[in-house]
């Protein structure tokens, strides 16, 4: 189990993942964070007021990829399951 930092970009609301240096649209670029480190990055990014709904979420590593534990987070990273044409990326949200 690892922690990933995620948030929504201010202007478009796009779901973003912390990649170690900045923010990426792809969960594939995300980095696992220690809780304390994650909390401090979260606090810093929150103060920047450019990323909303910041959260450290739990994820498992499955087949070499990050898989958020909660289905809500998986759907968040994918897009509306009923509109796969609007999906962000190839992700197994189930």
């Amino acid at each position: 189990m690892v922690k990933l930092l995620t948030g929504n970009e201010l202007l478009r609301g796009d779901v973003l993942w912390w990649d170690g240096k900045g923010w990426s649209l792809s969960i594939a670029d995300a980095v696992a964070l220690e809780p304390a480190e994650g909390a401090s990055i979260l606090e810093r990014e929150a103060a920047g007021e450019r990323i909303s709904d910041l959260a450290l979420i739990d994820a498992e590593v499955v087949g070499g990829r990050f898989r958020p534990v909660k289905i809500r987070e998986r759907i968040r990273g994918f897009g509306p399951t009923v509109r796969p044409d609007l999906a962000v990326a190839e992700q197994d949200w189930r």
Partner: protein
């Protein structure tokens, strides 16, 4: 329908300018998110799972063709080509970009539209009967009163920071097409000795604590309309709970005080505020009512839809057009004016997303409203649409246009006419996805739809109940069960005048399980029903027991309840 004067337009324009200023302060960093969030919510802009969602107000569900065309333009220009009509007669867009939101509101203002108070702890969109002005059974058109309330409630200085959101519905018939008794205030226009007044219900609602509103005042004279509402809101603002978000609606206050004591407090406050000159003069009611005067209906039109009438030359040979005939049977209802009909438009094609419409479809709808319905189209709280004033002679042409646009499903109030909230596919509040459940149920039940008859299925993705599951003949509530989606099955609700709250049947199910459970409920109904009974009637006659047995009794079935 109502048209803005310079005052209305100035107010909406000022609101856009105010929001633009607030947005600029947010983008420049002068305003932080904590302080900006309530401001954007007051303009209906939510940050959801994947993007910003904007909820545009459609006052009492009434639109002109021009406004519908603008909604299509917004979908194209500012969103991803579609919008979603909601259970409060509004429309939602799911992919709005924050930095374009002020421009979007400015465009809406050019056609007398806005997103004012579509979110936040304030008075929300006033809802009404989608057949207003056309219904055979209405006392008068309820919408002038809804418009009066809309104005009174807009930026009301005392009631903009209520304990919780506040929803009002106005109807004018004994038949309730607006789920009136499930609102914070429900108003039914009645006549007493030739005088127009209101029967006032307060304290209805769904969500965590569903309650059918009690009558607080049997007859309120029209002249006291605004001051009485003011009194209700003041009692609520002062005494509604603010310690617990789940106990903050007025229904809790009314329930805790008891209807009689609540009414007494309102009467006491009303005796005071009535003297303050809050009520609009009769001249203002008359001014607004003029906008809702009947359109120039043709007279002397033949009114029969009797297909066996050999003189009925207007009618196509129904035998040649079975789809059209079915659509007429199911979607078209009587109008108060001979020769006209009310046309229901389904936004529930089997397997599609309930309540969604594409920009192209909105253009078609705008054209149809202008050409065939005196430039009016309505949104219903069941996420469908209505053309209120269509000549019987034009029904075929309307159907052909709808059919070409994928809008001619004939399923009004049937098993595939399912209400579903956006659910966890879109909404951050949701615990489960609701749309896929609705889609699967629609596909499953479509072959038996005719046989099943009137069956209102309503799906909510969380306890907030935006899918109105408590008012469903069959209601489904999505919950979180140890991080997984789970669905509760409820039976026996109704949002019509025979208002009742659906009751939970037993333990919940996973996604496949709930679909199977509903199937067993419908099969049981078919085997148990007496002649002419709807599902709701059979349930009320027999109670939950036979359905419980049908759903859970076959416990050997491994796909059944998961505790």
């Amino acid at each position: 329908m109502y048209q803005y004067d310079n005052i209305d337009q100035a107010v909406v324009d000022a609101r856009v300018a105010e929001y633009r200023d607030q947005l600029e302060r947010r983008l420049s960093g002068a305003l932080d998110e904590d302080h900006f969030r309530p401001l954007r919510l007051k303009n209906g802009l939510y940050l959801q799972m994947h993007a910003y969602m904007l909820r545009v107000a459609i006052p009492y569900g009434t639109l002109s063709g021009q406004q519908m065309r603008m909604l299509g333009h917004v979908a194209r220009r500012y969103d991803r080509g579609y919008g979603h009509f909601t259970t409060r007669q509004n429309i939602q867009y799911n992919w709005i970009r924050l930095h374009e939101s002020a421009d979007l509101l400015a465009e809406l203002a050019t056609v007398e539209m806005h997103a004012i108070q579509t979110s936040g702890n304030c008075i929300r969109n006033i809802s009404s009967d989608q057949y207003a002005g056309a219904a055979v059974d209405e006392v008068e058109d309820p919408r002038p009163w809804a418009e009066l309330l809309r104005q009174w409630s807009s930026f009301h200085p005392e009631f903009s920071y209520l304990p919780r959101k506040f929803k009002i519905a106005v109807i004018a018939s004994d038949t309730d097409r607006a789920a009136m008794k499930l609102h914070d205030i429900g108003l039914q226009i009645v006549q007493r000795d030739g005088e127009t007044g209101f029967r006032v219900y307060v304290g209805g609602g769904m969500g965590r604590t569903p309650i059918v509103a009690p009558v607080i005042r049997e007859f309120l004279p029209a002249g006291d309309f605004l001051s009485y509402c003011e009194a209700i809101l003041r009692v609520y603002n002062r005494y509604g709970r603010r310690d617990n978000i789940y106990k903050a609606r007025i229904k809790i206050l009314v329930h805790d005080l008891g209807a009689a004591e609540f009414a007494r407090q309102v009467e006491e406050e009303h005796a005071h505020v009535k003297t303050l000159g809050l009520d609009a003069p009769e001249a203002e009611i008359a001014r607004i009512r003029d906008f809702f005067a009947p359109p120039a209906f043709q007279t002397g039109l033949s009114d029969t839809l009797d297909r066996s009438d050999p003189d009925f030359a207007l009618w196509p040979d129904f035998a040649l057009w079975p789809d059209f005939a079915l659509w007429v049977d199911r979607q078209v209802v009587a109008h108060k004016v001979p020769g006209y009909r009310i046309v229901n438009i389904s936004l529930k094609p089997v397997g599609q997303i309930p309540g969604d419409a594409s920009a192209d479809q909105m253009d078609v709808l705008a054209d149809l409203a202008e050409r065939y319905s005196f430039d009016e189209i309505r949104v219903t709280h069941a996420q469908n649409l209505v053309l209120p004033h269509v000549r019987a002679a034009d029904l075929k042409a309307v159907w052909e246009a709808l059919n070409a646009a994928g809008l001619a499903d004939a399923n009004l109030d049937l098993a595939t006419d399912i209400i579903a909230c956006p659910g966890m596919d879109y909404c951050t509040l949701a615990n489960a996805r609701s749309i896929p459940v609705a889609q699967q149920l629609a596909r499953l039940l479509a072959p038996r739809e005719s046989e099943l008859g009137e069956l209102k299925i309503k799906v909510s993705g969380c306890i907030n109940g935006c899918g109105h599951h408590h008012a469903g003949h069959i209601g489904i509530l999505g919950v979180d069960r140890k991080g997984n989606e789970n669905y509760q099955l409820l039976l026996g609700g109704s949002g019509a005048e025979d208002t009742s709250l659906a009751q939970i049947l037993g333990p919940g199910f996973d996604e496949a399980g709930i679909v199977g459970a509903v199937e067993r409920v419908t099969t049981a109904y078919l085997s148990l029903r007496a002649d002419g009974e709807r599902f709701l009637d059979t349930y009320r006659r027999l109670g939950a027991a036979p359905f419980k047995a049908a759903v859970y009794g076959a416990a050997v079935n491994g796909e059944a309840a998961h505790g």
